[in-house]
């Protein structure tokens, strides 16, 4: 069982959450100009990362808000939790932000602030691992 630290509610069991797939998949600027192949790739093609992976989660039986999580797909270590719309907070995210493909717009779906102190078991949700394995590397 993972303990996931919701930005609004604090640390809760994994069963309270739903997985939302890969984060930072931007909606195409001009969907009409895409070929069928490009559109299909936008809809269905996702990374299959071994190592740090940015993904979306929903606290479905709690505050019903979405947030992003940076999770190691090998160790399940949760490296960071950050708001929807924020760039990925590690080396991979900085590259994305510089090239302008990551959305940095504020997102209204996450308006909470710090975790309340009702949970005592939270692991540091905002810590960012400095060691980010490249795609396919073994951590």
């Amino acid at each position: 069982m993972l303990l996931i630290s919701c930005p609004n509610c604090g640390s809760r069991d994994e069963t309270e959450f739903h997985y939302g797939g890969q984060a930072h998949v931007a909606y195409p600027e001009n969907p009409n100009e895409l070929t069928d192949r490009e559109w299909a790739e936008y809809l269905f093609y996702r990374d299959n990362t071994k190592g740090a992976f940015a993904e979306r989660w929903l606290h479905s039986t709690g505050c019903r808000q979405w947030f992003n999580m940076l999770r190691d797909t090998v160790t399940y270590e949760i490296q960071a939790i950050y708001p929807m719309g924020s760039p990925r907070p590690d080396a991979a995210g900085k590259v994305t932000a510089d090239t302008g493909t990551a959305s940095t717009a504020a997102d209204s779906t996450t308006t909470g602030s710090a975790s309340p102190d009702i949970s005592g078991t939270s692991s540091s949700p905002t810590s960012i691992s400095s060691t980010t394995a490249p795609e396919g590397a073994t951590p």
Partner: protein, 212 residues
């Protein structure tokens, strides 16, 4: 066709016909409660209103003046008198008020909330039939809940007056600690039977003498 006496008003007619979600378990709740140890009952037909509004907006402040405040964060409950507002999300709240506050019984709470919101962004939705209310109380109430709720319910962590949206017995429910040894649980109506039976099962061991 025989003459039938028409109800004096539609509210009386409704009252005679309505059945609360856990009504079929009423006798079982009575029999399964262990006096002075852990007791369970349904509090039927409370008025509940779903609110969606930004508490920092003008509409939020107008709504707050009707409810006696809007809670600021996870766990907190505000309200005035017998009307309480539970925090469900950053812009989502649940108003819990007595049965008589419902507009079908002449209450004006929901209408007042609608008027406070006005045309601004948000929602005021009558959710009175969405959930029912269980009251679980007694010195063993926490032990019963701990069998199926992963929150830390120890009094040093969970204070009276805290309400949290979580899972109990694997179903989503809102848990409100109303006193040192009393909880209100709000399951959705369709889960009321399941959760009622689950709680009865969890309570059963406390009817027997403790094994040393």
């Amino acid at each position: 066709m025989a003459e039938t006496a028409a109800p004096a008003n539609s509210a009386q007619k409704n009252l005679s016909l309505r059945v609360s979600p856990a009504a079929p378990l009423g006798a079982a709740f009575e029999a399964g409660s262990v006096r002075g140890v852990v007791e369970l009952r349904e509090v039927p037909f409370l008025t509940m209103v779903g609110l969606r509004v930004n508490r920092n907006s003008g509409a939020g402040q107008r709504v707050a003046s009707v409810t006696g405040g809007l809670p600021a964060g996870c766990g907190s409950v505000s309200g005035t008198g017998d009307t309480s507002v539970l925090w469900l999300g950053p812009e989502e709240f649940l108003v819990v008020a007595p049965t008589e506050a419902h507009e079908s019984l002449g209450g004006d709470l929901i209408q007042a909330l609608r008027e406070a919101l006005g045309g601004d962004a948000g929602q005021v939705v009558d959710l009175s039939a969405n959930r029912t209310t269980f009251e679980l109380s007694g010195p063993r109430a926490r032990a019963v809940l701990e069998k199926g709720c992963s929150l830390d319910l120890h009094p040093s962590v969970l204070q009276a007056g805290t309400a949290l949206s979580t899972e109990i017995g694997n179903i989503p429910a809102v848990l409100w600690k109303t006193g040192d040894e009393s909880f209100r649980i709000f399951p959705r109506a369709s889960f009321a039977d399941f959760l009622g039976r689950w709680l009865l099962d969890a309570m059963r061991e406390y009817a027997s003498p403790e094994v040393p």
